[in-house]
């Protein structure tokens, strides 16, 4: 059966994250006083149509490099499930 990739795309540390910042402020405004840093990233879930874990991971890697993450500002992490 086909393997699914769960990909996390995160802004690199140091790249400012206006969305995360806005969420942080909103949480404080809602009374969550202790909240520290908030970062927002992307969750991309893909049906790989591939049953071999090796090839599945390798394909997901290429997808991230070629399209899903922008190496200038983003890191990515791949989980297969």
């Amino acid at each position: 059966m086909s393997i699914k990739a769960r990909i996390h795309v995160r802004l690199k540390p140091g790249v400012l994250d206006p969305q995360g910042k806005a969420i942080g402020n909103a949480l404080h405004a809602l009374g969550f006083r202790d909240v520290g840093e908030v970062r927002q990233g992307k969750l991309i879930e893909i049906e790989l149509g591939e049953s071999d874990p090796e090839r599945a991971r390798e394909a997901a890697e290429r997808m991230c490099k070629e399209l899903l993450a922008n190496p200038v500002i983003e890191n990515y992490a791949i989980e297969l499930c």
Binding site: V15, L16, P18, Q19, A22, E66, L67, L68, N70, V72, I73
Partner: protein, 229 residues
């Protein structure tokens, strides 16, 4: 002068740009379809504003992979002048033809209004219609114009005179307020190393008609056309 404007699915300012070129050259630019892998010989190739492929995933990310971009990368390397306005700028950074990236505006909102730009370098084909240090008024219309790059890149851009325009106030001063979208070092537009590629977020093409509230963009196109003829 033969200019070509690339049309991606989701481009929406290709006509605005064509009108500005036509005003400056008297002749209509040709439109290039994103799917074309060959393109004719051209004196200039422009990537217009809009939401190519919906700007889904990241602005310009998918457009950067369309067939026409392979050829544009080659032309850029060969020294053909390439202009990317707004979404076109985003596409050029995603394609790695220009350094850095464009994040969502500081406000996380779309901004459509006039801004003041300071011309940082007038010694290029794109900016020779202006004086260095001059201040011009042109509109912006974008959600993701917050330019970012690592410190070394920013230093290099500044040292080599590769910053084309900065957001400024009416007197040419830089400030938090003037830098409405939060761009690093107030950068509104940059050149590649050999200065034959320019990417900028503001829309000079929407400031070329007195009836539409401004003509500060005319010198941009007239200068460019002059330099290429």
């Amino acid at each position: 002068m033969k200019a070509g404007i690339v049309v991606f699915p989701g481009s929406n300012r290709e006509r605005d740009l064509a009108a500005a070129f036509q005003r400056a050259t008297g002749q209509k630019p040709i439109f290039l379809w994103h799917g074309d892998s060959e393109i004719p010989d051209l004196d200039l190739i422009a990537l217009p504003g809009g939401f190519a492929y919906g700007d889904y995933l990241r602005c310009g990310a998918m457009a950067a992979h369309s067939p026409v971009m392979r050829e544009i990368r080659v032309r850029a390397a060969a020294g053909v002048p390439i202009l990317g306005v707004c979404n076109g700028f985003q596409v050029l950074t995603e394609a790695g033809i220009l350094p850095g990236a464009l994040l969502p505006n500081r406000s996380l909102a779309f901004h459509c209004h006039d801004v003041r730009l300071r011309v940082e370098n007038s010694q290029t084909i794109f900016t020779c219609g202006y004086e260095a240090g001059g201040v011009i008024r042109v509109p912006v219309a974008h959600h993701d114009g917050n330019y970012t790059a690592d410190a070394e890149t920013l230093d290099r851009l500044e040292d080599k005179g590769l910053v084309a325009f900065r957001y400024c106030d009416e007197a040419g001063g830089l400030s938090e307020d003037a830098n409405f979208n939060g761009s690093a070092r107030s950068i509104a537009g940059i050149f590649n190393d050999s200065r034959n590629v320019l990417g900028l977020m503001p829309h000079p093409e929407n400031a070329t008609d007195p009836l539409l509230g401004g003509t500060d963009g005319c010198a941009f196109f007239e200068g460019l056309v002059g330099a290429l003829q």
